[in-house]
Every structure is written in C-alpha cells, then in structure tokens.
C-alpha cells in the first residue's frame, strides 16, 4: 500500500488531482476513527478529517518520499484535532471543573448500589475519564490515544508527533500516571 500511496502522490504532484481522491478514499476511515478518539465528537472528527486531507494536499510537495503516507496523515490529523480541541477547551474546562470537583467525586463514587445509581456511576466513570483526558497535554493525549486505543508502537507515535521515541514513551507514561491519579480511587471504591 505504501508504494501505491507513493505512486498516487507522484501522480498528484504532476497535475492529476483525482489521484488524491484515491488516497482520501483509502485512508478516510482510519483518519475518522483516530480523529474521533481524540475529539470524541462526531462532527468535530469529520471536520478534522476534511481539514487534514486539505492540509495534506497543500503540503504534498513537502512529503518525504521515504515516509509512510498514513503516518504522515496521522500527524496532520493530530494537529487538526488539536486545533479543534483548543477551540472548545475553555468551555469544556469550565464544565468539568464545575462538575467533578475532587471532594464531590469521592462522595458520589462511594455508592455502589445497583439500578439507577449504578447507571449514574457508569456515567460518572465515563465523565471522569473524559475529565482526566482533558487534563492531559496535547502530546500526552495523542500519545496515549495512539498507544492505548490505536495500539501504535512507540516509533509510530514518535513519527506522528515528530519527537524522539523516548519522548513519545515518556508522554505515554505521564498520561497513564495522570489518568491513574484521577481514576484509581474510582476503581478501588467502585
């Protein structure tokens, strides 16, 4: 597929715009999935996919022929996703801060009863996870999503983020630490 991607890229660069359509069709699903896992919003994910492919097209002249097109597109999609996240960050931060104060959470999660309360707990868990994710830096969030949810190797993460493999590993480590700090009491008590 890599060679096919490169052949399509060469055609695009000599004026065959439609060859880029084949690349878009081939990689859209994967881009949407990862965009959604980062943004956790369907509309935002679609916006990310479109924006990523547009940026990819405009920067195709800078594409390194030795690189992997999907990894390269991941990196662009990450940047687009981050832009989207930053737009809504202020609102989200305020909401999370108001809803999930530390003391309040402890009180809510001590109840392990069944029925509506259990459903409420499940919602709380999900909300807590989202809140914990929001606390991650952009690099940590992307590194964690790629490592934990996309099952990407450290090298792939490093390639997507444009950082050293050890830095990518450290980003995953810090993300897990933060998530653990936020979520560990929840699992113990529930």
């Amino acid at each position: 597929m890599g060679n096919d991607d490169h052949a399509l890229i060469r055609r695009v660069l000599v004026g065959e715009k439609d060859a880029y359509g084949a690349l878009v069709v081939r990689h859209s699903q994967a881009m949407f999935r990862v965009a959604f896992r980062i943004t956790e919003n369907e509309a935002d994910a679609e916006e990310v996919v479109q924006e990523a492919f547009m940026r990819g097209y405009h920067n195709l002249g800078n594409f390194d022929a030795r690189a992997n097109f999907r990894t390269w597109m991941y990196r662009i999609a990450m940047n687009c996703a981050l832009d989207v996240l930053q737009k809504r960050k202020a609102q989200t931060t305020v909401i999370i801060a108001e809803e999930y104060d530390g003391e309040e959470t402890t009180v809510q999660l001590t109840d392990s009863a069944a029925g509506p309360d259990r459903l409420l707990l499940s919602q709380e868990v999900e909300a807590r996870r989202q809140a914990a994710m929001e606390k991650l830096t952009a690099t940590e969030r992307i590194a964690f999503v790629m490592r934990h949810m996309e099952d990407r190797s450290t090298e792939e993460i490093a390639g997507a983020l444009g950082i050293a493999p050890n830095s990518a590993k450290q980003a995953v480590f810090r993300a897990v630490q933060k998530l653990r700090q936020s979520l560990a009491p929840l699992w113990v008590r529930s």
Binding site: G15, G21, R33, Q50, H148, K169, V176, L183, V188
Partner: protein
Amino acid sequence: MKHLTEEELIDHYYSEDSDKAEVEAHLRTCTPCACAYEELGKLLANVRAPEAPARDSEYGARVWQSIQRSLEPYPAKQKRKFFYFPQLAYAAACLLLLAGAFLAGRMWEHVHTRSTVAANPQQAKERVVLFVLDNHLDRSERLLVQLNHSGAEGETADLPLQAEARQLLTDNRLYRQSVAQSKDPLLNAALDHLERVLLEVANSPDELSSADIARIEQEMNTQGLLFQIRVLRTRVSEQKQNAQAIQKGAVL
C-alpha cells in the same frame, strides 16, 4: 529485591519492556509489584476508547467530494518551468544546439583524422612510389628518345647521356627491387629491360657511335622498351590521379 517502578510496569503492560521474562518472573514472586500491576491493568483495561460511529463504504468518497472543489491541481512541473522561464528554455536550446554542433564537428574531425591516419601508411607509400616511378619513367623515356634519335641521325652520344644512364641505372635498381613484390609483370619486365639498356649505355665507351647505338637499339629493342615505358607512364599517371582524388576526398 528491588521493586518495579511505575514506568517499568507501564512498559510491561504495553509490551514495550526489553526484559519481559525477567519482569514476569519478578511479578510472580513479588506481591506488592503484582498488586500494583494488577491495579494498573484494571485501570487501563477500563479506559476504553470511545467507539467511533460507523462510517459506510462511501464515506471516503464523500470526504473527497467535499474537498475536491477547493483544491487546485498541481501544475505539471515541465510545463510550468517552460511557461515561467521561456527565455531560459530558448537559451538552453541554443546552447544545446551549439554544443551539439561543436561536438559533431569534433567527432567528424576525429573520425576523419583517424581514417586519414589509418590510411596513410599504405596510401602514402603508394603515392610516393607512383610519383618517383613516374619521374623515373619520364627520365628514362627521354633518355631512350635521345638514344633513338642519336642512332637515327648518325650522331654520337655525348657524355651527359651516359651520365644520365648511370644515374638512372642506380635508381632503376632500387625501383625494380621495390616493385619486385608488387606482382606487376609488365612493370617488372619493363624495369628489368630498362636496367639492361641503361647498363649497356652506362658501361659503353666514353663516346657512343651511331653504330654502337644502332646495335644497342637492335639488341636491346629500345623501341619496344620505349613503347612499354610510355604505356607504363600512362598507367602510372592514371594511378597518380586516382591516388590524388582519393586523398582530396579524404581531406574533404
């Protein structure tokens, strides 16, 4: 025993650790580390990726439809270069033509020089032989004509005729030896015949009487020799002209 760090536990969870077997062995024997690892696993196992809404098989095509109108095709690189830099293209073409002409000239000259040089050893030798042979035959013809005239007019042959015969005799020996390998029977025979006549004239007494000349003419058949030499001269002249034409053609 040293406990595993949190980083090592995370590495092990994601199978990023380099000493996996050693970590597993440690986890089997170290309860605190095993508990910490179990807690970490429980935590991370419950951090599930949000399920992305399914996209049908036409999703990619729709994405392309939505963005393709805003994308300008990349210009073809060769056309763009020529379009933006026509002067450079023309200048390059002119330079290319000049360079091509120069190289063609050099190659032509090289080939020509080579052929001329290659042909030289054989052709030059032939041209020299033809030239000197023609000259020699010319002088021999004149001597024979003088000899015949002297005999016909009853005069005595003077010293210069004998001196000329001696000189021609020396030259004739050389030419005869030179053409001996040429497989030209007419030329060989003529030179051989000429040598005997010249020898006779050169070795005669100081003043050849008309009787001596008549004897030589009769015995040596100088009239026949003169005819042979004239025929040879004609042939040699033609060969000289052919050789000169070939030389001119090679030069051109």
